[in-house]
Symmetry: C2
């Protein structure tokens, strides 16, 4: 924050303009790159339970809620049906979930944790610790990262509501 002010004073003093078309000045690129770096760290860990990272996210939600519609899963993960439909079919093929249309409203497809899916949670409990070790960040650093990004994420959500 202070560095930014100092830098702007420096720019002003030197009659320079911040070059917003330089990669180093981009705010979005580090987020985009970090997202891929973090997913890459998850890869070897999640290979052990035969899940990709987005599949793991769906399983996390179902371990909390047992049964949700495709729409509800999409709202939680900010993903649409074009992404979720094939992904959920893969989880069904792995017998981790069931896909059944709601009798009350047949437009709604209910996703339910299967017995195998519930059992998988026992294997998955070690994932967060393995990930933490792989990444080499402390719990505090990861918590701070999570909170910082969540603030920005919630701000952008409010803007778009």
């Amino acid at each position: 924050m202070y560095n930014l002010i100092l830098y702007n004073v420096y720019l002003l003093f030197n009659q320079k303009q911040m070059d917003y078309l330089k990669l180093e000045n981009q705010a979005c690129f580090p987020v985009y790159a970090l997202s891929r770096v973090l997913t890459a760290h998850y890869k070897p860990i999640l290979d052990g339970i035969d899940l990709t990272y987005p599949q793991y996210l769906v399983m996390l939600i179902l371990w909390e809620h047992q049964e949700l519609s495709v729409k509800e899963i999409g709202e939680k993960l900010l993903l649409d049906s074009g992404t979720l439909t094939p992904l959920l079919k893969k989880l069904e093929n792995k017998q981790l979930i069931s896909r059944t249309r709601s009798t009350a409203d047949e437009r709604v497809l209910m996703i339910r944790l299967s017995k195998n899916g519930a059992t998988l949670k026992k294997k998955a409990v070690s994932v967060p610790e393995s990930f933490k070790c792989s990444l080499g960040l402390s719990i505090e650093e990861m918590g701070a990262l999570r909170d910082t990004i969540n603030i920005i994420l919630n701000r952008t959500k409010q803007i778009n509501k």
Copy 2:
């Protein structure tokens, strides 16, 4: 930071354990979600210059450097040839870049900004400001976000070197 300490005291006091398998406690998910949210904000803006977000990143680099190998572009963007090769071919089809093998080492493919590619920068200068308005965050907030993520990103790079 203080909230985290307080929360841990609360967990300890109530004999509870932080549930690292809950979506809300994930550090990676907000980064992954924010990355997609930010890219979505770029979409309508970059449509105006017929670029996708990863293509825009490549152009940003070339506006700075004019000529780089595929490998060098990959190092800057943390992307491998499997992603870059088809992307660069699309930029070549749009006549924004040229792809020529180095005479010194024919394994190396040099990517060069074309005249059209250089001209496109004039249209692109408005992109950062449009993006800022679309997102609704201040320059300070975006700068702070960039710096925070860059610290984490550099930490993970050091770990993997």
